[in-house]
């Protein structure tokens, strides 16, 4: 299990993480969402022992990660940079990491390499971006760690390869209880791969829960009323977004379906459509509620 307890991380005057509390159970596939500069990559780097928190605890299976090689050997971090191992061939990359991770599986590496059909003896800096990502993903999986941290996991992968990589991750999660933490802006893939997510904004966790309850807790509502209502009539609801087109009101509102029906019921709506949202829509409207929207940023 991963635990971040009141973690603060600063870069000079900038506070990247401001009292973050986060728990990630073992065996889950966890997605980190957030605006640019929210602190997603910082969390991953704290968990992989690259950074040290100013305060708070960063625990993996109850132990501090930083400067602790026994803990770090349970964690493999795949960042979004692929240039640093460009001078390796795939075989050399395998040999490099094999010496660091005691549970490295040659057999798994071979199988995965055959699946993605990468050449073993060409230097990886001759690979495309997607091929480099495949190379490091299969290396990371073959290392046999308990935790796999991926920053922009699917960046550069073609649609077919995305499916393959997703399947690899899922197989690993199922077969050996791998815990994956994926940071990505590709919310469609987070939606497909992850079962829990956390949303960050400006160094703070807005929420952290399983995907179903995230989706079940925010809806798009389309309704019309026999009376004239203005925006102010709905102040007592947690509304992230409101629009009106004639007599039809459009809401993005927090709450379960039952709670929403209960809320609008007294107003006797003529039409009440409750539409589930995609993760992308949830992200956009949650951020908009915090003032992080395209219109605000364009000003």
């Amino acid at each position: 299990m991963i635990d971040l307890k009141n973690v603060v991380k600063r870069f000079d005057d900038f506070t990247a993480l401001d009292g973050v509390d986060l728990t990630i159970p073992t065996g889950t596939s966890f997605g980190l969402l957030g605006s640019n500069g929210a602190g997603k990559s910082t969390i991953l780097r704290l968990l992989s022992g690259i950074y040290k928190a100013e305060s708070g605890e960063v625990l993996v299976d109850g132990e501090e990660v930083f400067d602790h090689e026994k803990v770090k050997e349970r964690v493999f971090f795949i960042d979004d940079e692929t240039v640093q191992f460009g001078h390796f061939t795939l075989k050399e990359l395998k040999d490099y990491y094999k010496g660091f991770y005691p549970k490295f599986s040659e057999e798994m590496f071979k199988q995965l390499a055959e699946r993605v059909k990468l050449p073993m003896d060409k230097k990886t800096d001759t690979f495309s971006k997607g091929m480099k990502r495949q190379a490091i993903v299969i290396t990371g999986l073959a290392c046999g760690t308990d935790y796999l941290l991926l920053d922009e996991a699917f960046d550069g992968l073609d649609p077919t390869m995305r499916i393959i990589v997703k399947k690899m991750l899922v197989d690993a999660i199922i077969d050996r209880g791998l815990t994956t933490i994926i940071s990505s802006h590709n919310l469609k893939e987070i939606n497909e791969v992850c079962d829990s997510v956390a949303l960050l904004h400006r160094g703070k966790i807005l929420f952290s829960r399983d995907l179903d309850s995230v989706k079940g807790n925010i809806h798009k509502v389309q309704c019309a009323f026999p009376q004239e209502y203005t925006r102010e009539a709905f102040e007592n609801a947690e509304i992230l977004h409101y629009e009106r087109n004639g007599s039809v009101h459009y809401f993005i509102i927090k709450g379960s379906e039952d709670e929403i029906r209960e809320y609008f019921g007294p107003k006797s709506p003529l039409i009440l459509d409750i539409i589930p949202m995609t993760l992308e829509e949830i992200f956009i409207y949650e951020m908009e509620g915090l003032g992080y929207s395209a219109e605000e940023l364009d000003k």
Binding site: R45, G49, I50, D67, V75, F77, Q84, F85
Partner: protein, 778 residues
Amino acid sequence: MNEQQTIRSHIFTQRSFHNGVQNVLREKRMLIVLTVLHFAAAPLITLIALGQILISHMEPEIEVYAGIGVCTTGAACLWGIACAFTAMPYLYKRTTVDMRLSLPMSSTQRFASDYLSGLFVYMAPFLVNQALTSLLLLLGHILCDGRDYVYHYHSREAVRWHCDIFGTAASYYFRILFAAVLIMIMFYTISVLTMTFCGSLMENICYTAMFNALVPAVIALVSYAVSEAVKGAVFEGLCFVLLPYTSPLGGCIYYIMMMEEDSTFIEYAMWALGFIFCTLVYLGLAFWLYKKRSVKAEYTGKPIVYTAFYHVLMVLAVACVVYGFMSIDEDMFIASVIVSAIGYLVMSVIKNRGFKKFGKVVLSFVVTYVAIIGSYLLIIGTECFGAGRFVPDPMTVQRCYINYLGFDDRVYSSSMSLEYSQTGAMFTDKDNIRTVTDLHRYIIDAGEEDIEGENEVISFCIVYKTMLGRTIMREYRIPADVMTDKLIALDTTDEMKTARIKKATAEIWRAARRIREVRTRRGSGMPESRWDISVSAMYVTDANTQYIREPVMSDSFYSGLIDALAKDIRAETPDQYFGRTKSRMGYLNVGSYSITITEDYTNTLSFLQGYGINGIPVIDREMAESLLYNFTINLTNNELEEYIDGEHNPLYTGYESYNSNDYNTITVTTKNLYTEELIDIITHSRKHSVSENGKFLISLGNGTAIPDESCNELVRDIYISNVMNKIIYGVAYDYREDSYSLFLMKFAEFYKDRIIERYGKDMYDVLVTYARTGYRVM
């Protein structure tokens, strides 16, 4: 932090070893390049020498290859910076941070592994090539050393030579090798150290170069300033307290100086220990900064991670400029401000990547400059806090060394080598030390430049070693006779005798090695040469020298000779030593080394009799005639000098600085007129003596002598006649110098009766007029 984390992990694990191996494999190309560069130096030079000898039988000509080798191995040695960079790229290259720092190693393991793997890449090519060189030297020693070779050079004449090159080279080679290894390791460690406080490649290179240049430069410049401020302070003595240990450049300077004979002012082992200690300090500092920095991986890419070290380097840079300019000329104060300001501000702009916080930068420069110029003025103004006037109390001095070995002997060396070359006189007796400190105090109180004496100004070097382990070195320039006046009380002490014996021992063994070397090279069948053992009379010529006929090579001979000499020196009484007895004097010559002996050196003469030398040759009339006609004779008039000064001046001989060059020394141009008198004077002069009542000195050929008192009248007559002859026969030139005028006036006064008696009143008046006006009016 839980209990498990408090348990320190091992530094050297399989993982850290694997990391190191991977680092080395990644730098395969660099390994190959460095190997080739190092091969082009010592191994190639040795191979070429071996080839030239084996194939052409020539004495090796390797100058061109040596030049190339110095360049290639120098370039490879400087590559230490690059080896450090490639071992720890995550300290300056952002793209490598995630990959390297996420690996399951602790920061200690990572530092050790990366440091050692980079060091391996740097040193392995060098060491492999030196191992090859060692093998080649051994091969050369087996195949070539000890043999005689003949080859025909351009002239077609046969050139014979004896080979001992490889054995001789090996003794120097291994000492150089050990020092080179230490210097390279320090250079690499400094490169790692600067990487820990810089976060970008450009800053790394720049500050590594600055560190390597500034540390020795500041030490040298501050030492120079202190040596200028403190009268008598020895620049090398101050500089070499720190310089040889604290930087690769300092280590190289020490080593080059140490390779010169008699310059072992710091023992090799002591230097090596000190150098290793400093390297470990730098390594410890680098590790500490690395650990501090490991918690801030995000700093990679910042120009300077720890600004404290940047400020340290900038302080050193400003100090270099200030002390450099002010040491040249204190009027260059404005120049020092301008140059240091420009340098400081440019570096700040580069560090800050612009003009951010420029006001703070200017303030920082002002504070730095004021502090440094303040330190300079404080050192100069207070003579380094009164150090210039400090004379240690004899009771606090454990031992002291001086370059005075008796009234007729000096060590031509600086204070730096007095202790370590052991050719100076060492005193531990408090009374003897007091004699030295009394002279030291006299020099300070009188003022070095204001001390007046009769003779040439020479260096007086002192080294004190205090009870607390402090070393104080001083060098002053004072007249030779003033120094002797004050120190002559030490001449017949046991400690001075010990010093003279030590010097004789060292010189005789050195000469013995040279004799063997020459004999070995030229073959044992060569006739006697000037490089062998002989005893000669007071004035050395071939005619009055006896040689040992057979070349002497055995250690037992030299040991026996030294023992005999030591006994004689110890037994010598003050009267014998100061030449107050009539025993005949001569020289014992061992190769190029000569020591004065007398007939009282019975042990030495008895020892040499067993080798065919029968005592000190006599200077007979024939020999004196030969000396008279083959050498220029100068007479120095001490009685006239005393009359002019109004002070009593003892006469010293045996040391050329006692030769006076004042107007009271004249060259005898009338040898043919005074032949018999001069022969008489020569045969009755004592070349090694001190005379409290001496009237004249005679300089003949290779030194000065004091004529016997019975000859004083003769010498006086010759002296007066030579001065007068110049005036009478128009040889004296018209002059304008007051000092010569004073001399002639005093000469006329002192010898008035004699001059009138011999030359008449008219000539006396001519002399007086000439003395007053500078014109001869006959």
